[in-house]
Structures are given as structure tokens and as C-alpha cells.
């Protein structure tokens, strides 16, 4: 990439060929486009709001959180809407990433080395998304769908038969628990544990070293282009 083109990228956020991510820009590598980052923060915001308002209704221990939303009645009113806004952003990310999230043989290898990965001993060769990210993507997609379907039943209880409600309440809570644990891990690994990762979602760029270390095959692919 020429210097002039790099300047153009900085201003418009895309290359001359219309690429918005997955290209080298000087010392940096553009990992996520502006649109992806905005939508990821969108789902982050509404996940947190849905999580807090949902926690308040999940357990008496967390009912105090209803104060954040103007009381119990208001919390029950806004919780489904937070979720709808979360889902709307999630659909964008899902469509954007679904092809890249297909499982490959190397992903099984990555999972086999998970212990070594967490001990910072080795990072197996991966494309743009590693197996952990793919698992989180699919868990969030299926979990989001399950929360949406059971959530609609809980939202309008008198519109659905009793047996469906009997399934929906415990399923909604089970998926909520698993989703929460997955997000705790997602947040920890990307913000606190692996240095240089968070900027992929703030500036959209990562360093070359980070790209080579964490996603070697992805870096090779975009470098050759």
C-alpha cells in the first residue's frame, strides 16, 4: 500500500478498492471496520442493560438493580426492549461473520491446545477468528435465539399455552446463566488478559506483532493480497 493510500484510508476508513478491514496499514493491521466496531459496542451496551435488568428479575439478591431502571415495574417494561435492541445489532454481526465462523480442522487442533493457550505457552495457527471466538460466536447466536424465543413467551405470558411457559421460564434462566459465564470469559480474555486486543474494537487496528502472534494465518493472507 502506498503512503498516499494509507492517508486516504485514515480519512475514509476504507481502501481505494473499498476494503474496510483486513488490510495492512503501515505498522498496523485493520482488523474491524468502523461499522463492525459500532455495532459491537451497540450489542455490548444493550447486553449490559439487558443483563442488569434481567439479573434484577432473576434473583432476589439482585433485585436492587431495578433502582437503575426506575423501579421494578419499569425494569420489567424495559428489559424486553433492551433485548430487542441487542438482537437487532447481533443480527448485523451474525450476517457479517457467519461465513468466517465455519469450523475448520485447525480449530479442533486449537481446542486441543486450549490449556497451553491459557498458560500463554503457545498460540496455534488460526485464521481471522480462532476456535474460542468461533465457539463464543455460535454459543451467543444459539443462546441469543433461545433467549429471544423463550423471552417472547415470558413477555406475553397469557398469549401462550401453559406448557410452553413451563419450559420457557427455566430455559430462559439456564441460557442466561451460560450466556453470562461466556461473556465474563469473553470480556476477561479480550480486555484484561490478552494485551493489545481491546484496540481491535476501539481503534479497529492491531499491531503487526499482535496479528502475527494471535492470528498468523490471517496476517499471512492479508499481507499477500
Amino acid at each position: 500500500m502506498s503512503n498516499g493510500e494509507a492517508v486516504a484510508v485514515r480519512i475514509s476508513g476504507s481502501t481505494a478498492t473499498g476494503q474496510t478491514e483486513d488490510f495492512v496499514q503501515g505498522d498496523l493491521v485493520v482488523r474491524h471496520s468502523l461499522a463492525v466496531r459500532v455495532m459491537h459496542w451497540w450489542v455490548t451496551l444493550f447486553f449490559i442493560l439487558a443483563f442488569l435488568s434481567g439479573s434484577a428479575l432473576f434473583s432476589a439478591r439482585f433485585f436492587f438493580l431495578t433502582n437503575l431502571f426506575g423501579g421494578g415495574y419499569a425494569t420489567r417494561q424495559v428489559h424486553p426492549w433492551f433485548s430487542i435492541l441487542f438482537i437487532s445489532g447481533f443480527i448485523f454481526l451474525f450476517l457479517r461473520w457467519v461465513k468466517q465462523m465455519a469450523w475448520a480442522a485447525s480449530d479442533t487442533n486449537w481446542i486441543g491446545n486450549f490449556n497451553r493457550y491459557m498458560r500463554y505457552e503457545e498460540i496455534p495457527d488460526t485464521g481471522k477468528f480462532n476456535a474460542g471466538q468461533k465457539l463464543f460466536f455460535w454459543a451467543a447466536s444459539l443462546g441469543g435465539l433461545a433467549l429471544l424465543l423463550t423471552g417472547v413467551v415470558i413477555w406475553f405470558p397469557t398469549s401462550f399455552p401453559l406448557w410452553l411457559r413451563f419450559i420457557s421460564y427455566p430455559l430462559h434462566e439456564t441460557v442466561f446463566i451460560l450466556f453470562a459465564i461466556a461473556v465474563i470469559y469473553h470480556f476477561y480474555i479480550s480486555v484484561l488478559a490478552l494485551g493489545g486486543t481491546l484496540r481491535a474494537m476501539t481503534r479497529g487496528t492491531v499491531t503487526r506483532t499482535w496479528a502475527i502472534t494471535h492470528h498468523a494465518r490471517w496476517y499471512e493472507e492479508i499481507r499477500r493480497k
Partner: protein, 282 residues
């Protein structure tokens, strides 16, 4: 919600409930065999509780409304029945049964929105209600109704306000045949059993007292001529139980879920303390 009655159970609240004094368990007895369908109890309920019902629709029956509503808590159900080729009515007073083990209270996520007093009455406190409708699903008798105006649930209070002052519920006061009685549950069970014996001697071999054990018994007990078929009486459930999912959620999901989420945070913290932040040197 009367403040002078002590509380035995309270929804979504940590720690023990506040009632320290024993109270006699009260009950209402409904003898469906001596009910004449006069609906005086319906009117008394509306008057005492100052409720104004919606306009009804004619469904070819004497029943006042097709169903209970958020401001109609006491409905005499008129069920057609054929006995030896003759038409008879099976009349039942449909209302909150005041379960001793209330599914609504167990399902409620709002602290203090549903209480059970020491005398067994189950009461809603609309000031604390969040309008989620969980109680509607948790109730084995499908009683609570959400008000379109307030978004909160309502049902029969067993006239807790009157009972707290030593008065009997309004419907009891109005009943002209004595088919409604109010007193301690023990006394009323004796009266009900005597009535059942009488009915049996009159040829109603399956007459029984409806006091279903699946909900810990109820504080509204009913004498049925056809005790083996409660569903004849406008769909009274044969074996009502506190829904299984409530037990799973209360005793397993919530504590286990809270523990697992805490464990995830502790796990992340432990990992951070052991391995720290990974920095990739240039």
C-alpha cells in the same frame, strides 16, 4: 393490604418472614350442593371491594361474565350437566383458592408483592407488583388477572381487610342459603365432612371435600357432589400442584446460577493473578 396481620411467607425476599405469632388457620367453605346461583356473593364482592366490572356479553348462560377479570374476583360458574336424562346445573364459586403452598408466591420475583399471612390468606400488594405475570403461570387454578389500566395483577383477597378486623368476608355475609361459611379450617373441614356423609346417604356416592394436597391444601375448601370429577365444575383441576419448574428454578437454577457466575469471575481473577496480562513484544 392490612398491616395488622402477620406474615408467614413473602415473595422474593431474603431471610425469614416477619410473623412471630401463631394464628388460627382460616378457611372459606363453599358447598356447591346448596348454592342456588343467586350471585349475591358476586355483588357483595364488587360492593365491598368497590370494583366496577366490564360490560358482559350474552353467551346463552346465566353466568355473569365469561371469566374472572382484574376487577371481578368472584364468579359463579354455571355448568350444564345431565343426570339420568335430566338437566341440572353444577354451580361453583370460582375465585382464588388461597393455597397453603401458593405457586403464585413462589413464582413472584418482586419482593413483597405477594404475601401469605399467618392465618393462611394469600394477598397481593399491588404497590410492589412489577406486572411480570409470573404468578399467572405459577397459579394452578389460573386465577390472577393483569389489569389493563394499572398493569398489575389482582385477585380475591379473602377480604383480608375485613378478616383482620374480625369480620367475615363480604361474600359470606351475603350468602342467603348458608352454602358459604367462614371459620377456622379445622372446624370447616368437620362441617364439610358431615355434609359429604349426608350427600353420600342421599345417593351421591362420590361426594367429596375438595382440599387438594398438591398445593398443601387450600384455604377455600369446596364440597362437590361429584367429587371424583372436579373438572365437571367449570374445569376445576383434578390434581392441582405447584408447577415443577418453580421448584427447579428456586432450589437449583437460581443458587447454582449465582454460584457459577461468581465462580467465573473468581476464575478469571485467579487466572489474572497467576498469569497476568500477556504482552506481545515487538
Amino acid at each position: 393490604m392490612p398491616s395488622n396481620m402477620e406474615i408467614r411467607r413473602v415473595s422474593a425476599t431474603l431471610g425469614p418472614p416477619t410473623g412471630v405469632r401463631e394464628a388460627a388457620k382460616v378457611a372459606k367453605l363453599i358447598d356447591t350442593t346448596t348454592c342456588i346461583g343467586c350471585k349475591a356473593c358476586e355483588l357483595a364482592c364488587q360492593e365491598w371491594n368497590d370494583l366496577r366490572s366490564e360490560v358482559t356479553e350474552q353467551l346463552g348462560t346465566y353466568q355473569t361474565l365469561p371469566d374472572l377479570t382484574s376487577n371481578f374476583w368472584n364468579l359463579i360458574r354455571f355448568q350444564d350437566h345431565e343426570k339420568n336424562g335430566e338437566f341440572v346445573w353444577l354451580l361453583r364459586k370460582d375465585q382464588c383458592m388461597h393455597c397453603d403452598d401458593p405457586g403464585c408466591l413462589k413464582a413472584c420475583p418482586a419482593p413483597g408483592a405477594i404475601v401469605q399471612y399467618n392465618n393462611g390468606i394469600v394477598d397481593f400488594n399491588q404497590a410492589n407488583c412489577i406486572g411480570c405475570g409470573y404468578c399467572i403461570s405459577g397459579c394452578p387454578f389460573a386465577i390472577p388477572r393483569i389489569s389493563k389500566n394499572t398493569g398489575r395483577v389482582y385477585k380475591c383477597t379473602l377480604c383480608a381487610d375485613r378478616v383482620s378486623l374480625g369480620l367475615e368476608p363480604a361474600c359470606i355475609k351475603a350468602c342467603p342459603t348458608g352454602c358459604l361459611q367462614f371459620g377456622t379450617k379445622g372446624n370447616l373441614l368437620d362441617i364439610a365432612e358431615k355434609r359429604v356423609e349426608q350427600l353420600k346417604s342421599q345417593g351421591f356416592k362420590t361426594a367429596a371435600v375438595y382440599d387438594p394436597p398438591g398445593v398443601g391444601g387450600t384455604h377455600v375448601i369446596t364440597v362437590l357432589a361429584y367429587g371424583d370429577r372436579p373438572e365437571l365444575y367449570g374445569g376445576l383441576p383434578r390434581n392441582p400442584t405447584v408447577p415443577l419448574y418453580l421448584g427447579i428454578m428456586k432450589t437449583a437454577l437460581k443458587p447454582v446460577g449465582n454460584f457459577l457466575m461468581l465462580l467465573a469471575v473468581v476464575g478469571a481473577f485467579a487466572h489474572f493473578m497467576r498469569y497476568g496480562k500477556r504482552e506481545d513484544k515487538e
